[in-house]
Amino acid sequence: MTETTRAQPIPKTATHIRGLDEILEGGLPEGQITAVIGGPGSGKTVLGLEFAYRSALAGEPCIFVSFEERAQVLRRNAMAMGWDLKSLEEADKLFLMDSRPSPDMIRAGDYNLNGLLAILEGKTAAMGAGRLVIDSLDVILRIFEDSVKQRDQIYYLVDWLNEKGLTAIITARSIGENDNLTNHRFLEFATDCLIKMDFRVSGQIATRRLRVVKYRGSSYGSNEYPCIITENGIFLLPISTMGLQQAELGPCISSGQTDIDETLGGGYRRSASILITGSAGTGKTTLLSTFAQAACRRGERVLFINFEESIAAMTSAMVSVNIDLQPYLNDGTLRMLTAMPESMGAEKHFFQAFKAIEQFQPDHVLVDAISATLRIDTRQAAFEYLMRLISTCKERGITSLLSNQLGTSHSVIDEISGLGISSLMDSLLLLRYVSHGPDIRRAFLVIKSRGMAHSSKYHEFTITDNGIRITGPYDISFQAAADQAEIDSPVKARRQKWGDQE
C-alpha cells in the first residue's frame, strides 16, 4: 500500500467480550473467519461460547457447533458464569449443536463434511443466523484418516463460510499434536484473523494469555495480553489500550492531619495518585489510615486494598494510634480487600480490585503496600498490575494512595520510584528514619506534588497515641555524611528530574 492510499476500515463485529474488542480495535472481521488456536485449558471454548452468548443476547442469532463438549455441559458451564443459554435457545437466538463424533462410527468408503455444511446451511437460514462458532476443528478432523483429506475438509469449510459471509470463530487445539501442525498452518493461512491463546503455570500460579497474531485489513494490539476466566466470562484489560492521559486533578482534600496538609501545600488533590515510600515502621499504614478515616468521616467511600495484614489485624493496630476504622467498615463507607500476594496470579488480583471498584464505586483507593505485589509473580507482572490499577482509578477520577515499603536490597532511588510507576504519580512522599544525635527519629519529605506549592524540607514527625504529629523541620546536617550521599543526593537528582518534567 502506498502512502497516499487511504486505508478503508473493514467492517467489524463486536464480541462484547471485555477487553477483546479494544485489542481487535472494534471486533472480529465481519463476515470473515477468525481462528482461535490454543492448548488445553487456554480458554478458547469459553471465548467462543461467550461470543455466541453475547451475540444471541444482543439479538444476533448464533450457532455454536460443539464437537468437543456435550450441549448439556456447555449449558451448565455457561450457567456458572451467569449465562442463561436455555432461554436464548428457546427464543431461537442461539443454537447449540451437539456434534460430538461417535467413537464407534463405522467407515465404509469415502465421505466428507458436506452433510454438516448442509445442516448448517439449513439452520442458519431458518434462524437468520449470521454468526457461527466451531469448537474445535481438530476433533472433527479426526474422523478423517489421512491428512490430505483433513486439509480438504478445512478447505471446504472455509470456502463455505466465506461464500455464506458468516462471521465465524473456528477454534483448534494446539499442544502436543504435531501431526496437526500442517492443518493449523493451513487454517492460519486460510483465515483472516488469528488469535492464539495459551495457559501457563509459573511458580504455581496459572495465567492465560491471548495474542492476536494477524488481522487482515486491520491494525490490532499485538502484545500478549493476560486474561482470566471470571464468573462473568473472559476478562482482558489490555494495559496498552488504556488511556494514560492524566485526568484533571480535583480540589484539595485533607490528608486527615492539618500539619501534614500544610507541608503538602494544602493536602492531597482529589483524583490524584499519591505514592508514599518508606522503610518498615515509618508510619505508612498510619498515614493511609489517617486519610481513610478522614475521608470516611466526610462520607466518601474508600476501598482499602491490603496485601500486608488481615482486616482485624490492621484495624486493631490502628486503634492504638486512635484511628478507629471499624464504624466505617460497619456502615459500608470503607471496604477492605485483603489477599496474600501469593494466593493468586496478577490477573486475578487485578480483577478482584477492578470488580470492587466497579461495584463499590469508591472515591479513593488505598493500597498497602505495592512492594508486596512483587511477591505475586514477576516484577513485570507487578508493574502491570499497578499500572492498570492506577489507570483504572485515573479514568474514573478516583484518588489512589499507595504505600511502598523500602527494602534493603535495591537502591533507594529505584524503590522511591515505586517499581517504576512514579511517572504516573502526582505526588511522592518519602518517610524515613533519621538520626538525631544518638536518637533515631522519623522524617517526612514531599518529593513532588503536582500543582501544589508544597514544602521542600524534611519534617520530623512522631506517631502518638493520637495519630501522626509533625514536630518540626528536620535539620539535614544532623545526618551522617555517608547516609546523605546514599539517600539525599539521589532524592535531589530525582527532584531535579521531576522538576524538569513539570
Partner: protein, 106 residues
C-alpha cells in the same frame, strides 16, 4: 422416499425387516455412489430392507435429529439401537458384515 428394490425374488430368513435412512447431499459423486451401493446392498442382503433417502439440503431437520456430521451416512433406525455407517458404502463386504446381512454361503 425411495422404496427398497421391489423386484427381489429371494426368500428371506426369518430375520426382522431392517429399516435404514441413507443421508446424502444433493448429487455429489459420493452421494450418487452411495445410492447405487444401497440398491446393490438390498439385492445382496439376506434380510428384507426398507430404506428411505434423505437429501440433507432439502431436509436438515431429520439429519440433525440423527446427529449427522459427515455424509454419505447410513443409519439403521430399526431394530434399534441405531447404528451409523459413514461413507459411500463402496466397501460392500464390510457393510454386509457389520450389519449382519451377509448372504448365506451358496
Amino acid at each position: 422416499m425411495i422404496p427398497g428394490d421391489p423386484h427381489h425374488t429371494k426368500t428371506f430368513s426369518e430375520k426382522a425387516t431392517r429399516h435404514f435412512i441413507l443421508f446424502v447431499v444433493g448429487d455429489e459423486p459420493n452421494s450418487r455412489l452411495a445410492r447405487q451401493n444401497m440398491e446393490c446392498l438390498c439385492q445382496r442382503a439376506d434380510t428384507a430392507i426398507e430404506w428411505e433417502l434423505v437429501d440433507v439440503l432439502k431436509d436438515f431437520q431429520t439429519a440433525l435429529k440423527h446427529d449427522i456430521l459427515a455424509t454419505p451416512a447410513l443409519v439403521q433406525t430399526a431394530p434399534g439401537p441405531g447404528l451409523t455407517i459413514l461413507g459411500n458404502l463402496n466397501d460392500m463386504d464390510r457393510v454386509l458384515g457389520v450389519l449382519g446381512l451377509r448372504e448365506p454361503a451358496a
